[in-house]
Every structure is written in C-alpha cells, then in structure tokens.
Amino acid sequence: MSEPILVAENLTKWFPVKRSLTQVARGERTWVRAVDGVSFSVEKGEIFGLVGESGCGKTTTGKLIMKLLDITDGKLMLQGEDVTHIRGAALSEHRRHVQMIFQDPYASMNPRFTIEDVLMEPLEIHNVGKDMAERNVWVREILEEVKLSPPEEFLARHPHMLSGGQRQRAATARTLMLNPSVIVADEPVSMIDLSTRAEILAMMKQLQREMGLTYIYITHDLSTARYFTDRLAVMYLGKIIEMGEAGTLIDGALHPYTKALIAAVCEPISGKVNRIKEVPIKGEIPAATNIPTGCRFHPRCLYSVPECWQEEEPTLDDIGSGHMVACRRHREIQELGDSARTSEASLGIRRTA
C-alpha cells in the first residue's frame, strides 16, 4: 500500500450563528455544524469521492482541504506534514499543492481576462517559471493537455467565447499550471451538458493517469461518482456514514441512508413509468444547527430502534476490505431481507413532506 497523500482526522468546521441580544445576555451560542468530525485518508494517485445531498458538508470539507476556511477542530495532513493551522508563506505553498475546480465554469473565471491571462495568473502569483518565454511554453503545453487545441486559437479568447465544456477544460488547465499533487473537484460536471460530461471526466481521468494526480471528487451524482472514483464516502449532516470502494459501496450498500440514496437514483431502463418508486427514507434533512442525538440519521431511518437515539452515535467501523459503515443495525437490516424491506419502505416514501 502506498503512502497516504492527504489525511483528515476528525476534521470539524462549525460556523457561529448570529445571536440575538437576549441570547448574548444569556451566553447562549448556536453553531451550524457543517462538518462534524470527518476522518479519511487518500492515497497518492487515487480518486476519492465525497457524495451526499446538499447541505451535508461535502463542499465545506473541500474548502477545508483547500484551506479556504479555518479548521475548527481536528487535523489535516498533506504529504506527511501537518497543515491544520498554517499561515502566510506555508499557506501559499499549500495552495500550490492543492488546487480546486469549481462547479460553475461561468462564475469561476474573470470575464475580462483572456484564457492566456487566466492561465498565466497562478504562475505570476507564485512566481514560477524563469521568464515569460518559459511560461508561454507551459501555457501552450497545458492547453494541449486539456485538448483545447490548437492553443493559439484559445489563448486570446475570453471565457464567454467558450462553450461550457471548453470552459471547464480551461478551468482544469488553470489548476494544472502549478503542477499540484491534489485537485479538489467540486461538482465539475454538474453544469455541463450530458453529452459532453463523459468527455470532461474521461479527460480528467487521463490526466490523472499521466500526471499521477490525486482527485477529491465532490458530487451529489452517484452515477458519475461510480464511474469516476476509486473510493467513495457518503456524507450525511456533516459526517461520513459509509465509505468503501465505489463499486462495492453502490452494489452492496449497508447504511440505510446510502440505500435510500441509491434507490432514489433514476436509471435509463424501460418499464418503470407506471410504478411509484420506493425510496426507503422518511421526512426531510434536519437543520445542521440542531443535529439529532445518537445516530444523526435516526429520525429519517425506517429501521431505527430506541437504542439508536438513546445511545452514543455509532462509529465508522471497518467490516472488511476497507468497507466502513456507521450503523449499529446494519447486519440485522441486511437479514430483514428484501421482502420485509419493501413492505416497510412503501410506508415511508409517499407524502412525506
């Protein structure tokens, strides 16, 4: 097994909520517990996926890895070095090694810049490359790499002159300029047309193989995650509740939440039009200011028993070959079998709001 490149230990980010005068007087404090103790490690050359619904803390986790936000608690290690509380020059150095591709290729590039400016900027900020000539060569090479060729045709263009797919290629090129070791890709294809989505992902995968990159792929889309990632972690309300090899996790999900997510995914197969789809989950996601006691999923779980909310939160346990799950009843639920599951599930789904 190779050395982990990125290790997060109990990574936590709590945002303070604005208080009213009475709350200040009483000394009350409330927090949005966006990321509430997340631990994982990513190996060099691996594609690690973070999936979950909106508000589960996946983007915040990405921003913590980038150090765009201060870490409230826990520890973040990059290439064996503790980067949890770095500042100044060390932080700037960190950003050279960890780069980010943002969701919206329309908003993440300065509209007044040409593509050349966009790609040149990181080099100037970090003062890389000995002269303009060398930088120019690099910019052209990277553009070829992301298949925006011939580069001359794209250098002078502004972002609005590119299609969504081309723009996301340019965004990828920008992250590659500094030769990073980890790239955090936050929903890089969710705003791209389906017909070109696969093309972008294939390109990202090829770059990863060629340059030995490590990706953290953040998404809500399980289908692309399965195709793109090696390992997946499913987040719910700021915590990882299941983690494992992508195929194993999706075909053999154990946590009731993961099962519900998978059941909810639409698939292009005929014969489902006249059926109501059963999604074994109830209610809506609670606010991150008021996280349920015990297992944080229990209010929405169809299998919860009193010990789920009376006892302490279940830990993320390894059940073999790196498949980890945080549910104390996962074995019993599995034994309940399909027949029981569907009849129970049908109670939960309809008219839940």
Binding site: G164, A198, E199, L222, C266, I269, S270, G271, I276, R350
Partner: protein, 325 residues
C-alpha cells in the same frame, strides 16, 4: 381505441430575430399529446426544448416570434386567439407550466397564501374563505399541510417550494401541464418524491404532462412517450419501450445520448460521449442537422433534408439510415 388528443402541434416554427441573424430555434415541429399521457422532451441545452414550451403557452420570449404552424388545444388553434383571450381561456386555464428553477418563481416578500391567491383571483371570482379552502385542498393534494399557507418561501425547503409551484399550476384544473426541468435543482431523494407526486397526479386527476429535461434517465421513469429534439427539430419520437427497451433507440443521436448516460449498477471503463457541439441555428447545417457529429453518416445525409417518418407504430425517426429504400 386511441385516446383523445388534448394537444396537437403542427409545423410549429419559432424564430429569434437577433442582430446576428434569424435563429431557427424551433423548426417545423409536429407532435401530439394524448389525454392522460406524459410526453417527455429531451435534448442538449440550446436544442429548443424551453423555447418550444413557451410557444405552447403562446408567450415566446422576445426577440422570439412564432412564425408559423398551429397549436390545437382541444381542437382550437390558440395562435389565432388574441392575447386577452389566451390569458382568459388558455394560459393556466387549460395549459399551465412549472418553470425551470421553480423555487425561484416565488416572491420572497409574500406568503404562500398571498401568491397563490393572486393566481386564483385573476381567473375566478371567489371570496377569501372559499379561496383558502381551495388552496388548502390543492396543497394537501401535493402532500403539504395547511400551515404552509402562512409561511414565506424562505421557510420552506426546495422540495416543498417545488410542491407549492406544482399546486399553483394545478389550481385552475388545467388539462395539460408543462414541466420544464422541474427536478434539476433538487436532491435525488426529493427528486424521486416529486416524480412520484407527478405520477400520482396523472393517475388521480387524469392530467396530461409535457416533461422537459436533459436527463434521459429521468424520462425513463416518468414519460410514456419520449420526443428527442436536436437543433430545433425532432430527431426521434417513440414510446418508452421503444427508446429504452432491449432493441434500443433508432436514431444515432439518441443512441449516443443514451450511451453517455451513466448507469448506477454497471461497471463501465469508458463512458461514451458525443464529440463536437450542437450547430449554430443562425446557419444550421444542410441536410440532416446532426450529420456533422454523426458517426454513421452516409453521403446523402450532408445535403438531403431528412424527413420524420414512422418506422413502426408510434415510432418516428428522422434518419436516412433508418429508412429502407
């Protein structure tokens, strides 16, 4: 016996008159919608899906103009009606729309009751109490409780807002509802709930839907028939079984689009994609509009305009490859 057709579109043409030239966004589109059926409309962005939807309500977005064709709603051509008549008798009365990003359709400063009542008062003379009763019954129909009426939009979740918008569209008991990407901004679990709700309504109320999305996997779950648009024209129109069945779709574009759709329970090494981009509709390519991106093109595809022909019952394709000649 074939079911009654609630909506029939014949040779619909909608052009955008821009400074760069005339964009032929919808070009000679013909199809019909049967009572109680869901017709799915899919295609890449810019293929004219939303433009077509605005045409069906006879409210094209400027600089767009409907330049030809007929839209028969219950046998009446709505394009010949005056704006006033359309507003009074067609829009929301017989055909309603759930817009893309419906959560942003609600005014943040009004309560749900106030904005729902606005729709009602424009169309029906009704006192406050009766109106409230009706609003409540429709909110219950979409699975919301009565107290939603007192809430402001920011107090509701995305899924709940979407339900409010659907309730508002149902309100005047239209026959046809156009849903334009109603679930794109929602999480998967909520998306599944909304899809179930629409199926339920179709069954209970006997509504007909036009369901627009770019996602073929959602269409597989909701639509009885699927209309695949490419560059303002119909590439293929077939039943759910014809498009998603083992035989697969007939048009190379649909085939590629389906190939680019990832499947959850299948291990794939490489996903297919469609090289190139959709054409500029100011000067669409000659012949078949898909030919510059088509992997199986023949000589005639580049210059002979391709008609839409029925290759089996209910299955229409516009591709020279699919015709036996």
């Amino acid at each position: 016996m074939e079911k009654e057709r609630v909506l029939e579109v014949q040779d619909l043409e909608l052009h955008y008159f821009t400074r760069k030239g005339v964009v032929q966004a919808v070009d000679k589109l013909s199809f019909f919608l049967r009572k109680g059926e869901t017709l799915g409309v899919v295609g890449e962005s810019g293929c004219g899906k939303t433009t077509m939807a605005t045409a069906l309500l006879n409210m094209p977005t400027p600089p767009g103009r409907i330049v030809g064709g007929r839209i028969l709603l219950d046998g009446q051509d709505i394009l010949t009606l005056s704006e006033n008549e359309v507003r009074r008798r067609v829009r929301w009365e017989t055909i309603a729309m759930v817009f893309q990003g419906a959560m942003n359709c609600l005014t943040p400063v009004y309560t749900i009751e106030k904005q729902m009542r606005e729709t009602l008062q424009q169309h029906r003379a009704m006192d406050k109490k009766a109106a409230r009763g009706r609003m409540k019954s429709y909110l219950n129909l979409v699975g919301l409780s009565d107290d939603v009426l007192r809430r402001y939009p920011h107090e509701l979740s995305g899924g709940m807002k979407q339900r409010v918008v659907i309730a508002t569209a149902l309100f005047l008991e239209p026959k046809v509802i156009i849903c334009d990407e109603p679930t794109t901004a929602l999480d998967v679990v909520v998306q599944a709930q909304i899809i179930n709700l629409l199926k339920d309504l179709k069954e209970q109320v006997g509504l007909s839907f036009i369901f627009i999305t770019h996602d073929l996997s959602i269409e597989a779950e909701v639509s009885d028939r699927i209309l695949v648009m490419y560059a303002g024209r119909i590439a293929e129109l077939g039943t759910n079984a014809q498009i998603y069945g083992p035989q697969g779709p007939a048009h190379p574009y649909t085939q590629r689009l389906l190939g680019a759709t990832p499947r959850l329970h299948e291990e794939v090494e490489e996903l297919a994609f469609i090289p190139g981009t959709p054409p500029d509709l100011v000067a669409p390519p000659e012949g078949c509009r898909f030919h510059p991106r088509c992997p199986v093109l023949m000589e005639r595809c580049a210059h002979d305009d391709v008609p839409l022909r029925e290759i089996e019952p209910d299955h229409l394709v516009a591709c020279w490859r699919c015709f036996d000649e």
